[in-house]
């Protein structure tokens, strides 16, 4: 099954509503409307549950919307938050704050375990496994009534108070929930804007390409899972206080389904969409009351219609309306500093040691009856541009996959500056300095050009997840530096003016260049390019050739798989030739041209070549 399909985000409306701190004010204004209108009435109760459920739904947007991981287990963390705190407070007289913290710790631990166990599963399987977690939690709560109170609920949770003021009214809980929601939105926004958010969106688009950029995919997924679980746990703890007597029915599967519905009706990848969805899901039954038994069918119909005509949810629909007045390629003002030479720092590949930088020895891979790569050995010296050529099906791309760790070799060894690469995961290989591009550019279509480059640069960042979540000045500064470097790289490949354009909007030739720029962001010591000239016209190929030579001048080591002989002859220092998975020749471009084996491989028979 293919990975999650690339989702083309609409237009970049985020700038509109979320400029600076503007949105927080908007949020607070909107949040106070229900309080002012309905503060003393029963309707407040519905708004309180809307707020609490929204917190969980927002966390679902992080993990399902942005992260593409379909999870149905968050009511489990919601329940753990309420019950662990409740049991500690009611049975052991533990102070509420401590209870909430312990509950959070338990949730994080559970999220870590479940995350590590299940995140390598594909979509549906992952969903079912997380659903299982939610079911098990409810069963455990119901199964030990002496501790949890069972289905009659957990009695005896003390009433909380803040600075001596008891918290008991709907209005008080509403504001607490609203502030928690606000915090959740801020943290969520920071996450999405940070490299963690970028990496998770990249993972959702193309997991393999992301790992070959040096991003530890599994670790990021688990981190996100734990982050969203913490939302649910904290919300659950306060919700448990609000309920006074939490029961398993408050955290059962119908609640989970409601929350997922809120997310999708509201709109994924918006963060605030789930709040809209929560309002609709919770209020629709109130409005529908007159229809009696027909209500269920009519509600179902409404949901279907919304999902059909507003697939990006209500929030997505609203955003589309608001973005009408803007063109999609409206760029942010970019520094007009095109004359400054690009400052690039590679891992020094100076010819300090005599040993070759990349040493490939006896690498083999068999797929069933086909020996795709058979005992291939060659060297690539530091600062060299090595071309690998051969007819179609010769095993060139397979070789790249073996080198970058995407496929595990049956035998052989690959040494990069003395470090063995065989057996390492793709992200580890990339972090050691070996990156690659693909035959068809695998970009992150829903992100902008500069965001794509920034994902390539992920491994260089040092600020931690927590630092990014609260956006301490150091992490913000790091972002800025990173952005400058990324722009410099775009300058190098000539895409500077397209920095804020969506990658999906680029023409083919520019996509290639973007992929190269992204690969260079690490920065690598060796870059492997898989047929970079394919699909380019003559002038684009010339531009490419110039770029490759320029990179070599700067000290980078390049390995090139190519079919275009003119380009190969122009740029390559050495050429290796593969045929049927075997290495048939390895030497200077001139020698290769005349090599009888090579000619036979391409043309099928011996042909005398006139001396050029």
């Amino acid at each position: 099954m293919s990975a999650s399909p690339a989702r083309a985000r609409g237009l970049d409306v985020r700038g509109l509503l979320f400029d600076g701190w503007h949105w927080i004010v908007t949020f607070l204004i909107i949040a106070s409307v229900p309080a002012l209108l309905f503060g003393q009435t029963y309707v407040m109760n519905v708004f309180v549950t809307v707020a609490f459920f929204s917190i969980v739904a927002v966390s679902l947007d992080l993990i399902m919307g942005y992260g593409g991981l379909p999870t149905f287990g968050h009511t489990g963390f919601f329940a753990v938050g309420a019950y662990v705190m409740g049991i500690l407070a009611a049975r052991l007289q533990v102070p509420l704050i401590l209870g909430i913290v312990v509950a959070l710790g338990v949730s994080l631990l559970l999220a870590l375990i479940i995350g590590m166990a299940t995140l390598r599963l594909k979509e549906y399987y992952f969903a079912v496994a997380t659903l299982g977690f939610a079911v098990i939690v409810v069963h455990v709560i119901a199964g030990f009534p002496e501790v949890t109170g069972g289905w009659s609920g957990l009695q005896g949770i003390p009433r909380p108070s803040i600075a001596g003021i008891p918290i008991s009214s709907d209005l008080q809980y509403y504001w607490i929930a609203v502030l928690m929601l606000l915090a959740g939105l801020i943290v969520g926004r920071n996450y999405i804007d940070s490299r963690y958010g970028r990496s998770i969106r990249a993972i959702a688009t193309d997991e393999q390409a992301t790992s070959t950029l040096g991003i530890p995919v599994a670790r990021r997924k688990v981190q996100l899972f734990m982050l969203s679980a913490s939302y649910a746990s904290l919300a659950g703890s306060i919700y448990g206080l609000y309920l006074r007597v939490p029961t398993p029915a408050n955290f059962d599967i119908p609640v989970m389904i409601d929350m997922v519905l809120m997310l999708f009706l509201g709109g994924i990848e918006t963060l605030w969409g789930p709040i809209v969805g929560a309002v609709v899901v919770r209020f629709l039954p109130e409005v529908m009351g007159v229809f009696q038994d027909w209500r269920v069918a009519i509600q179902g119909l409404i949901f279907v219609l919304i999902l059909m005509f507003m697939p990006r949810g209500l929030a997505g629909f609203i955003m589309n309306r608001l973005a009408r007045g803007r063109t999609s390629t409206h760029p942010k003002p970019v520094q007009a500093d095109a004359t400054a030479p690009a400052r690039l720092t590679w891992v020094p590949s100076s010819a300090e040691s005599a040993a070759p930088l990349l040493r490939i020895a006896g690498v083999s891979k068999r797929f069933g009856g086909l020996q795709a790569v058979g005992d291939v050995s060659f060297d690539v010296a530091a600062g060299q541009l090595k071309a690998v050529i051969g007819p179609n099906g010769a095993g060139k791309t397979t070789l790249f996959n073996l080198l970058s760790g995407v496929i595990v070799a049956d035998s052989g060894s690959v040494l990069l500056a003395g470090r063995e690469l065989i057996g390492l995961a793709p992200d580890a290989v990339a972090r050691l300095g070996l990156v690659r591009t693909y035959q068809t550019p695998r970009l992150f279509a829903s992100m902008t050009v500069v965001e794509n480059v920034l994902t390539g640069r992920d491994a260089l960042f040092t600020s931690s997840l927590l630092a990014n979540l609260v956006k301490i000045p150091a992490s913000a500064a790091e972002e800025r530096t990173a952005r400058d470097s990324a722009l410099a790289l775009l300058d190098l490949v000539g895409l500077r003016q397209r920095a804020d354009v969506l990658a999906s909007a680029l023409p083919f030739g520019e996509r290639r260049l973007l992929e190269i720029a992204r690969a260079l962001a690490l920065p690598p010591s060796v870059i492997m390019l898989d047929e970079p000239a394919a699909g380019l016209n003559e002038s684009e190929k010339d531009r490419l050739g110039d770029l490759l030579l320029c990179l070599r001048e700067q000290g980078l080591t390049l390995v090139l798989v190519e079919h275009d002989m003119r380009l190969v002859m122009r740029v390559a220092d050495e050429v290796a030739v593969l045929n049927y998975g075997q290495l048939v020749a390895d030497g200077s471009p001139e020698a290769i041209r005349q090599h009888p084996e090579v000619i036979r491989a391409y043309l099928g028979e011996e042909v005398t070549v006139a001396a050029s």
Partner: protein, 408 residues
């Protein structure tokens, strides 16, 4: 439909909704427009009606939180009909002290969150003096604290409600069912019984209230729980059989009660099957099918009112109720529908003596004694907020004629 869909999508993508000037204020206005519209809709939906239990000729408002949709829809629907029938009758006779009763029903969709907001709406907006329902323990656990805090008396349809709550009363009959087992125990020298029940609040309350009656007579050797989605109960019944149970107690609800009966027959269980009539109805008879001959149902007299001797005092009111109920719904009357009626009866009796003061109504409910209802007699006390002593009878199933039979 396809053309309609295309037309609709055309409307939705109207290009005319263009923004002329794209400034921040316009942005904020448009963003606020959405929640404003939603607020408006909510306000319209939640528009309060006239106030509550004052004096004069204003109606006495009583709330009813009953699940007419969702998992336990069958319960709430019948309860509502029974309750409404009572209200219609008492209003026809002039109401209470000259004031009509207004029953305000809200469906909680079998979900506790909805029941909580329904309770708050009834108390704060409709200003009900008391309420009936919820229909099940799953839901009432969440509404109980609300009635307690608002000091509003509530007569619910459940049989058991966990820890005692001063404002919460119930009247689903839960005790005394062991009496029908007496004969079996004596005749066949039964010493061991097992229970098969659905996991959840029903299992909990059965353990607390129903099985003790039977444990006075026999030893309980198995207590097995099943899931509502189970399609075959033969393994669990075989497990109970292995434990040596000579009688199987089946207090389940819904179609699974019938499934258990069918499975009981399927494995030729060497023993007696007792099904408690939690929601036995015509559907149950249909579903039991071939297992009718081994099925003994503990029920109340409403199921076989036609076979009661004329000397039985409950025959007349039950016949009256049943004929009216069937006329309304084209279904036979059931215990659950009686519960609906009885909830209103118990409550209105309290209102008759105590007036419309909530505290006095509460006290009156707590001290209700000797009240004859369709289901049985209510004798409450401060320790027992249920107090329903049902006239339990043992019934068989007459599959051919699609009805219950009075046994012995």
């Amino acid at each position: 439909m396809h053309r309609l869909a295309r037309q609709l999508s055309g409307v939705v993508n109207m290009p005319a909704l263009h923004l002329h000037r794209f400034d921040r204020l316009a942005k904020v206005r448009r963003v606020l427009a959405v929640p404003a519209v939603l607020m408006l809709a909510a306000m319209v939906a939640c528009a309060p009606s006239s106030g509550g239990g004052g004096g004069g000729n204003e109606p006495i408002k009583i709330g009813a939180i009953l699940s007419t949709t969702g998992a336990i829809a069958g319960l709430g629907t019948d309860e509502l009909v029974g309750a409404q029938m009572f209200v219609d009758e008492i209003n026809g006779k002039g109401g209470i002290n000259g004031r009509q009763i207004q029953l305000i029903h809200i469906d909680d969709e079998s979900k506790p969150e909805n029941a909580v907001s329904a309770a708050k709406k009834l108390i704060q907006q409709e200003n009900v003096i008391a309420s009936i329902g919820p229909s099940s323990a799953i839901v009432s656990a969440s509404t109980a604290p609300i009635f307690l805090e608002s000091k509003v008396p509530d007569v619910s349809a459940i049989g058991d409600f966990g820890p005692l709550n001063p404002y919460l009363f119930s009247l689903f009959p839960i005790t005394g069912q062991g009496v029908v087992a007496l004969d079996f125990v004596k005749q066949r020298n039964l010493t061991k019984f097992g229970v098969i029940v659905q996991a959840g609040p029903l299992a909990e309350s059965t353990r607390r209230t129903t099985t003790p009656d039977f444990e006075k007579l026999m030893q309980m050797v198995a207590y097995e729980q099943v899931q509502p989605s189970d399609t075959d109960l033969t393994p669990v019944l075989a497990k109970i059989r292995s434990a040596g149970a000579e009688m199987v107690l089946n207090p389940m609800t819904g179609q699974q009660a019938a499934l258990a009966a069918r499975n009981f027959k399927q494995i030729n269980y060497p023993g007696v099957l007792i099904v408690t009539a939690q929601n036995a109805n015509a559907a149950f008879i249909d579903l039991v099918a071939d297992a009718a001959d081994v099925t003994n149902v503990v029920g109340t007299k409403v199921f076989i009112y036609q076979d009661l001797p004329d000397s039985d005092a409950s025959k007349a009111p039950l016949t009256d109720f049943a004929t009216k109920f069937t006329a309304k719904t084209s279904r036979p009357a059931t215990l659950v529908s009686n519960i609906g009626w009885d909830m209103m009866l118990s409550l209105t009796e309290a209102i008759k003596t105590a007036g419309t003061d909530r505290e006095k109504i509460r006290d009156a409910l707590e001290t209700q004694k000797g009240l004859q209802t369709l289901t049985g007699t209510i004798n409450r006390s401060a320790q027992d907020h249920n107090g329903m002593e049902a006239d339990w009878i043992l019934m068989g199933v007459d599959a051919a004629n699609k009805k219950f039979l009075l046994k012995k």
